[in-house]
């Protein structure tokens, strides 16, 4: 028998610190698989965010640095301008990308920086204990919205991908999900397209990935997959948002 599925070379043989059913592990692996398949491991520089994925540098087997909370696209800009032929990507959560780092995200996109953003949207702050994120759904309970997110008090879930899509510098933006094998396959294709867009020097691209956080949704991993299908997709529909 032949081995038809195994761990990619760009992913270290390390146990992750993520909770059961957390989607970060899947996305880490997809990034590693795409880098291996494109033959870019020795030309890649990744930037880990502040948040649950800050320890991504322990899991990837290529050059990785970390950025201050939200400054990830600015750090990527600095690296990419110095090394324009390398693959430079940021890996960011919703708080990092769409709250504290909104300005850095918007302006990196607007400058059309040749970088890729892997944006993991799980609608909650994980590392700090499940507080409301900019992408938390209306009525969703979190540590800081104990009675549920309220439109009047907390604002609506931020649709940052749609916001970025109106910028000329952003050439490819897609929203995918890792809640199912089909979603995982689509996510992998989207990451590959984003990396290829960058290597072709076409401009800024981002893949927003809906990802489960059972722990801070207060659900079992199984229930969290249902929550994604029944609730999240209503606010965050999947598909190519820019670059159809």
């Amino acid at each position: 028998m032949d081995k038809v599925f195994t761990r990619p070379n760009s992913l270290r043989d390390a146990e992750t610190h993520y909770c059961a059913g957390c989607g970060h592990g899947i996305v880490h692996r997809l990034v590693a698989e795409v880098i291996d398949e494109m033959g870019l491991r020795e030309r890649t520089i990744g930037i880990a965010p502040v948040g649950c994925a800050v320890l991504a540098y322990d899991y990837w087997n290529f050059d990785v640095t970390e950025a201050a909370h939200g400054r990830t696209p600015a750090v990527a800009t600095g690296i990419k301008r110095v090394l324009p032929d390398r693959l430079v990507f940021t890996y960011q959560g919703d708080g990092d990308l769409a709250a504290i780092g909104t300005a850095e995200t918007v302006h990196a996109a607007n400058r059309g920086e040749d970088i890729s953003i892997i944006f993991v949207n799980n609608g909650v702050y994980g590392m700090t204990g499940g507080q409301m994120a900019p992408t938390t759904l209306l009525e969703q309970k979190t540590a800081t919205t104990p009675t549920g997110r309220d439109l009047k008090r907390d604002g609506a879930p931020l649709k940052i991908s749609e916001m970025l899509a109106v910028l000329d510098g952003a050439v490819y933006i897609e929203r995918t999900s890792v809640h199912s094998p089909a979603g995982v396959n689509k996510t992998k294709k989207a990451i590959e397209r984003s990396f290829q867009t960058q290597m072709d020097k076409k401009g800024f691209s981002m893949v927003e990935i809906i990802s489960p956080c059972p722990t801070y949704w207060g659900l079992t991993p199984r229930e969290s997959l249902k929550w994604i299908e029944e609730r999240i997709f209503k606010t965050y529909p999947l598909g190519v948002i820019k670059g159809k």
């Binding site: 050059d63 600015a74 690296i79």
Partner: protein, 356 residues
């Protein structure tokens, strides 16, 4: 015809000092009174094929510099006081990651938005780290446009050698004023000799194990070890990198201590006092951290009094106090809020102190 000496303002001279050091990456955000520097770098980076980015904020600018440094480039950002406060987050991360970078602060009056007049009120912020955590930045304080060129140039070598942020602490006066600058002389100095290999940089892991640059150290004892390593580095710097200018410091009854713009005023006062036969000397710290405490202490053994002059309500005076303890009397003359001390007023104070 290439002239040896050209007229430049301090802010432009700062940019040229960076260019001489091989800096080809600059990111900044407009703020008065340092705008000539940003405009100069925009022009020079274009001419030299370097990178200039007008960032969306000071936060973004310092983090772009962080990124460029991660990739191994000599990189600089500049701002003025309120903008430097914003950059402190990034400076702390640069220190925490052990990265070289050069930050220029063309100081203006504070606190808050303050005004746009020259000031020295950011001394505490510059010399005590400035951001969160237990770290230092080397702080270089020029007193002439020529020195702005040379110290900015040297800042890059120091940053690379010790892998840490280095700050050039200028002020609105030095930034705006024009003086002849000898760029040929500035170019001749062996800037390259301090340039070091950067095997730690992230360039892609071809023919080596992957590199990692980070300041998050969660394993038990790891952060304490790293802090101890930083402190050892700082100790070496305190031993090797102190710079100052001194005049009659070992033979005078009164020693004036001032840096930057106040150092210039102090120098004029010393010359005038000596002409009148008054026993006055001076020490002008060029590195504010590491502070030239040994020479200050030695001068205090002989002197009857020390006069500290600052464009603030008194910040460097604390370093003078730490250096000399009870050895001699310390007098202070300073003007806060963007006011510049006048030479005549200081001179009268000197006369009173020496004759009294």
């Amino acid at each position: 015809m290439k002239r040896d000496r050209i007229l430049m303002c301090g802010n432009e001279a700062c940019g040229e000092g960076a260019v001489i050091a091989g800096c080809r990456f600059y990111a900044g955000y407009p703020i008065t009174p340092q705008n000539e520097l940003t405009a100069y770098m925009a022009k020079r980076m274009l001419e030299l094929g370097g990178t200039f980015i007008q960032a969306e904020s000071e936060l973004a600018a310092i983090n772009m510099v962080f990124g460029a440094s991660v990739a191994g480039a000599r990189a600089m950002t500049s701002s003025s006081s309120p903008g430097i406060s914003l950059k402190q987050e990034g400076i702390s991360y640069i220190a925490g990651c052990g990265l070289p970078a050069v930050i220029v602060n063309v100081m203006r009056g504070g606190p808050g938005l303050g005004n746009i007049a020259p000031s020295q009120a950011d001394y505490f912020q510059a010399t005590r780290g400035g951001g969160h955590g237990d770290y230092r930045t080397i702080v270089l304080a020029p007193a002439s446009v020529q020195e702005v060129v040379e110290l900015t140039r040297d800042a890059f070598g120091l940053a690379d050698e010790y892998r840490m942020p280095v700050m050039v602490l200028s002020d609105g006066m030095l930034g705006q004023m024009m003086e002849p600058v000898d760029l040929v002389a500035a170019n001749k100095a062996e800037v390259g000799k301090r340039s070091v290999e950067k095997p730690w940089a992230l360039t892609g892991c071809k023919d080596r194990e992957p590199n990692m640059i980070r300041s998050l150290l969660l394993k038990s004892g790891a952060l304490e070890d790293w802090n101890n390593e930083l402190q050892a580095r700082y100790k070496t710097i305190e031993e090797k990198e102190v710079r100052y200018e001194a005049l009659h410091e070992d033979e005078s009854d009164l020693i004036i201590i001032g840096y930057g713009t106040c150092g210039r005023i102090a120098k004029s006062c010393v010359e005038r006092a000596r002409d009148e036969g008054l026993s006055v000397g001076m020490i002008r710290p060029i590195t504010l951290w590491p502070f030239p405490k040994d020479i200050v202490r030695k001068a205090a053994e002989k002197a009857k009094a020390i006069l500290v002059v600052e464009m603030s309500s008194g910040q460097m005076i604390e370093d003078v106090q730490l250096a000399i303890g009870e050895r001699c009397k310390i007098e202070f003359y300073g003007r806060p809020g963007g006011a510049v001390p006048e030479e005549d007023v200081i001179f009268e104070k000197i006369r009173t102190l020496v004759s009294g």
